[in-house]
Symmetry: C2
Subunit: 336 residues, 2 copies
């Protein structure tokens, strides 16, 4: 059985391309308000679980020890744009942990923000590991290791205590058994564990409500989410959905994108979490589907992140990107 079409692109009178995928919306106890497509198949959440990967940074006391406040915690949860501000803050986190940028193991790539990438080129500079969108997450991992007197060498290996601690936190909150059969390595070299979308959705319902979590973890995750709502520009960057929507709905919408078409998030007041994955990994479809879902619950989000129309290079509208009927109907039929 193929997953349903969630997003389609038109050009003139025809649908030109379409994106299939699966979506789950869950309560903290696992009651599914919506399931479309296969929500049982394990999905790598990629960067969508950075807020969970940041739990040990807070729970270990490392964040407090090194004086990391909302900006540093938000950056640790972020897939940042690689601007000077983002790269500089990652460098500062490392410095406070007594480390230099070359301790990072994330690898280098050009800044995600075109303006930042262009500025580097214009200055004749190569991108460094600090510009990697994951450098804040990695700085947080390194700071945790330093604080706990663990070796920093190989901190990205699945067997290193830093990663094992994260695996345990993810398994505890999600209730998913996270073993070698669902272990992949992310683009930034750290482990990523796949789990069913229905459990990812339940995980985010628990994160945004605290339900089902022991009080210390509840406090830690509340602090992490507050940091993201306070500093949404550090979670992504100017003009990007996570930043724009979380700035508009602090305390109401948490959302985080992941590579290969993943989006996760939650709505504290509605006590719901969501997780979706586009089969083909397309970012344009994941973002479109996430916005359609969020707009269902927060109509005021309409227009914040217009996906489409499809335009020519001279700016004429020649097509649209839109939610497919089955997805629109499922959202409209929600009782919530």
């Amino acid at each position: 059985m193929a997953n349903p079409i969630l997003i389609e692109l038109t050009r003139g009178p025809l649908v030109e391309s379409w994106h299939r995928g699966a979506v789950a919306i869950s309560s903290p106890s696992g009651t599914l308000a919506l399931q479309l497509g296969d929500v049982e198949r394990p999905v790598y959440p990629r960067s969508a679980v950075k807020a969970l990967q940041a739990l040990p940074l807070v729970e270990s006391g490392a964040a407090d020890h090194f004086g990391f406040g909302a900006p540093e915690i938000a950056l640790a949860c972020g897939s940042h744009a690689g601007t000077e501000r983002h790269a500089g803050l990652a460098a500062s986190m490392l410095e406070r942990a007594g480390l230099r940028p070359d301790a990072l193991g994330c690898g280098a790539h050009p800044p995600l923000a075109v303006s930042a990438a262009s500025a580097l080129i214009a200055a004749g500079c190569e991108p460094t590991q600090l510009h990697n969108n994951c450098s804040g997450k990695h700085a947080g991992m390194l700071a945790t290791a330093v604080h706990l007197n663990e070796p920093i060498a190989g901190y990205w290996e699945p067997t290193h205590p830093v990663q094992e601690r994260i695996r345990q936190a993810l398994a505890d909150v999600s209730g998913a058994p996270l073993g070698p059969d669902v272990l992949g390595i992310d683009g930034c070299s750290v482990p990523n564990w796949a789990m069913p979308l229905k459990l990812l959705a339940r995980t985010f319902a628990r994160l945004v409500t605290g339900e089902g979590l022991a009080p210390p973890r509840r406090q830690a995750i509340a602090r992490i989410l507050e940091a993201c709502w306070e500093q949404p520009e550090l979670v992504a960057g100017k003009g990007r959905a996570d930043t724009v929507v979380m700035r508009a709905f602090p305390g109401q919408v948490f959302m985080k994108t992941g590579a290969e078409g993943v989006y996760c998030g939650g709505f504290p007041e509605l006590k719901l979490g969501f997780a979706l994955k586009i089969d083909d990994g397309a970012k344009r479809a994941a973002a479109g589907a996430a916005m359609a879902l969020i707009e269902r619950f927060f109509p005021a989000a309409r227009g914040l992140m217009p996906y489409g129309p499809i335009k020519t290079w001279r700016g004429a509208e020649v097509g649209a990107i839109r939610s497919a009927a089955v997805f629109e109907d499922a959202l409209a039929a929600l009782k919530v």
Copy 2:
């Protein structure tokens, strides 16, 4: 019925993402050697039919009149990289037709080649219409209009004689009725007509064999294909599949990519044409599927364009991009 999975991406032990699509391989008479998925649905070929869109440039005598040889004709068929050489040749075509670059209606975008885009930024220059990957096609259209004493204003409009002539050529060679019900506007502002993949595949079988074409058209298309094989760097650019493969197999493999996951091509000696479209429009999947298909007939093409493995930013292999079983099996079962 969903189209079959053609390409899949793995990460660790799991398939992370996959791409569905449809493929047709046809003889000049329309006998299908292979059909996978829906080959009846009209598909916009986008830039994959640039060699056909160049027919009037040659057939009208405009190419000869303005002294366009293989380089100019190849550029007119190309989705070029936007290097100085590409942009400069497009400017030269316009100049010989008595026009300036601002006659172009394709709009501007940064050069497709990262190195060329970076060089522009480093020089503090904005991309112009000459850098648009379609500027050669547009220069050819303008030259044809000038040669035939037609107005150049609005040469991109579906009702302009330049576009009507192209529509007629496409309809004649393909046998597809190309009316307003399948008319979309391409990103470069000119019309693009959708047709079934089975007819697109037959069209390319006719192009590479000349079968079913009147002698003058047969000569024109032969000249166009020879130009592409002689100047493959002008059809795409350094390191790109169309350039690399056509340089390696001149006279044996013609291939051309189109936006939104399209690939078309043909094999003169085998008297076959092919056309494929990835449902979701992913370039990575279209290129991978086209290479798998070409490698089936030309095993020596293996290794020319390695799609995958999936690597971390530090270069470690963590996954693969590969043909899916149903596609591999269908190719293996071909009697050709």
